[in-house]
């Protein structure tokens, strides 16, 4: 039993790595995508829109397989599975985050930009000090939902052979002819997401200092 638990703990470290790296890259990338989606340049807007449609319109599991195998079939080169997982997750989640950011940006009254302009704030200052804090508060609940989904999606990394928690549980299950490891993996995911929810609850409470 202890051996099983230590195996699964090891596996879950992989999930946490995928989770952390995806957020690290996808959260800022999402903003660039959102800006592209809202661009006045028609071609940029159209291309970004197609990208978002593909990312949201096809299964992540398929995107994983494509990102990992396509370079092999097209150029004959293969590369690190873990890198492929991170690339797939980042481009997928950036699309979802972008739409969340866009909803937040569009919820800001244009009067906030006008007051900033008349007071003499630069565009950059206005964005980071006036707009972004308000957007952050608006999108927090939607963002929390997406981040919780990400925790669960990390289990998909096994599709291209990356050893993570759920794979470890499945291996153990077939070795021991028992479904118990699968349920234990479920508890692991639940606990991770419990912590994520708690975190977002705290941040939301912190942002409640104004209405």
């Amino acid at each position: 039993m202890t051996k099983l638990l230590s195996l699964m703990l090891k596996g879950s470290i992989m999930n946490i790595k995928i989770f952390g790296l995806t957020l690290l890259f996808a959260l800022p990338l999402g903003f660039i995508v959102a800006k592209g989606r809202m661009s006045k340049i028609k071609i940029v807007k159209a291309l970004v829109n197609i990208y978002i449609q593909i990312m949201r319109g096809t299964p992540l599991i398929l995107q994983l397989i494509f990102v990992y195998f396509a370079p092999y079939y097209i150029f004959g080169v293969s590369y690190d599975r873990f890198t492929a997982v991170i690339i797939s997750f980042v481009i997928n989640y950036a699309a979802y985050f972008a739409e969340i950011y866009r909803s937040g940006l569009q919820a800001i009254d244009k009067g906030q930009y006008e007051a900033s302009k008349v007071l003499g704030f630069s565009k950059l200052y206005t964005f980071f000090h006036i707009i972004l804090p308000q957007v952050f508060k608006i999108i927090l609940p939607a963002l929390a939902g997406e981040v919780i989904t990400l925790v669960k999606d990390t289990a998909l990394a096994q599709t291209i052979g990356v050893a993570e928690l759920f794979r470890a549980a499945q291996n153990a299950a077939s070795r021991e002819f028992s479904t118990m490891p699968i349920f234990i993996a479920g508890v692991f995911f639940f606990v991770m997401n419990y912590l994520v929810s708690k975190f977002f609850n705290i941040v939301e409470a912190k942002m409640n200092y104004y209405e």
């Binding site: 009254d109 009067g111 906030q112 006008e114 007051a115 302009k117 008349v118 007071l119 003499g120 704030f121 200052y125 000090h129 006036i130 804090p133 308000q134 508060k137 200092y209 104004y210 209405e211």
Partner: protein, 254 residues
């Protein structure tokens, strides 16, 4: 003779096919108050938004202390470079109909933020200035409140304080009481009146005729993007030449 602070010559502006301003010319002298009257859709707000650089003029010229913000070159309004435009912008304040306070900042920070970030005042100096203004506008007890905790009248007074803290040479008001309940209108009008007594240069778009008459030195009446009539206070409010002006002032005075 007071010096002329703002001189506008033949300003025109269209949104697509719709002409919203046609050949607007006026002067605003230092220490004077100008009322801009007219029905909705007459172009009053657009005129303020052009002077405060929220919109761009198509044609005409605008001078601030004899420096051009834009000058007509015979085919279009030619804007001065960013440095001059910014310099002029910092000297013009605008109070909005909907206040546009920053909801995530306290009242105090709403008033200090631009002083610190734009005018590079140090924090203490900015706070001293903000507190003096809050005291003057009887809002000192609200310094730590957030905008959502204030009444409409209080919000508008804070936004006036926010504009004044930047030490503008002229302050524009775009229907400052139109979003307020009648009983809250009074407290805002009193503040503007107090500023006029202190010889603050101002231009006010308003539907409050009694108030406009009380504070203005000069008034213009606009309709359909044209100035129908302009003149000093008495000629507009009590002895307007044009029938349409008299009619409007009469209908708004009840």
């Amino acid at each position: 003779m007071n010096e002329i602070l703002i001189r506008a010559n033949n300003i025109s502006k269209a949104f697509g096919e719709v002409k919203v301003l046609n050949d607007i010319s006026f002067e605003l002298k230092k220490g004077n108050v100008l009322s801009i009257l007219g029905p909705s859709g007459s172009g009053k707000s657009t005129l303020l938004r052009i002077i405060t650089q929220l919109e761009r003029a198509d044609r005409g010229s605008l001078y601030f202390n004899d420096k051009p913000l834009f000058e007509d070159d015979g085919s279009k309004a030619n804007y001065s470079n960013n440095k001059i435009a910014r310099e002029i912008g910092l000297k013009t304040g605008l109070v909005f109909q909907n206040f546009n306070l920053f909801p995530h900042f306290t009242v105090l920070r709403n008033i200090t933020e631009a002083q610190i970030a734009v005018l590079k005042r140090d924090k203490h100096e900015a706070e001293d200035r903000a507190i003096a203004l809050l005291k003057k506008l009887s809002l000192l007890d609200k310094a730590k409140a957030y905008p959502s905790q204030l009444s409409g009248g209080q919000k508008q007074r804070v936004s006036i304080a926010r504009a004044l803290a930047m030490d503008p040479e002229v302050l524009f008001f775009d229907e400052p009481t139109s979003a307020l309940d009648p009983e809250l209108t009074r407290e805002v009008l009193n503040v503007i009146k107090q500023l006029s007594e202190e010889k603050m240069t101002m231009a006010v778009v308003t539907h409050e005729m009694e108030f406009a008459k009380a504070i203005s030195d000069h008034a213009i009446f606009m309709e359909g993007g044209y100035i129908i009539e302009e003149g000093d206070k008495d000629s507009i409010f009590t002895a307007a030449e044009k029938e349409r002006t008299r009619q409007f002032i009469h209908s708004m005075s009840n």
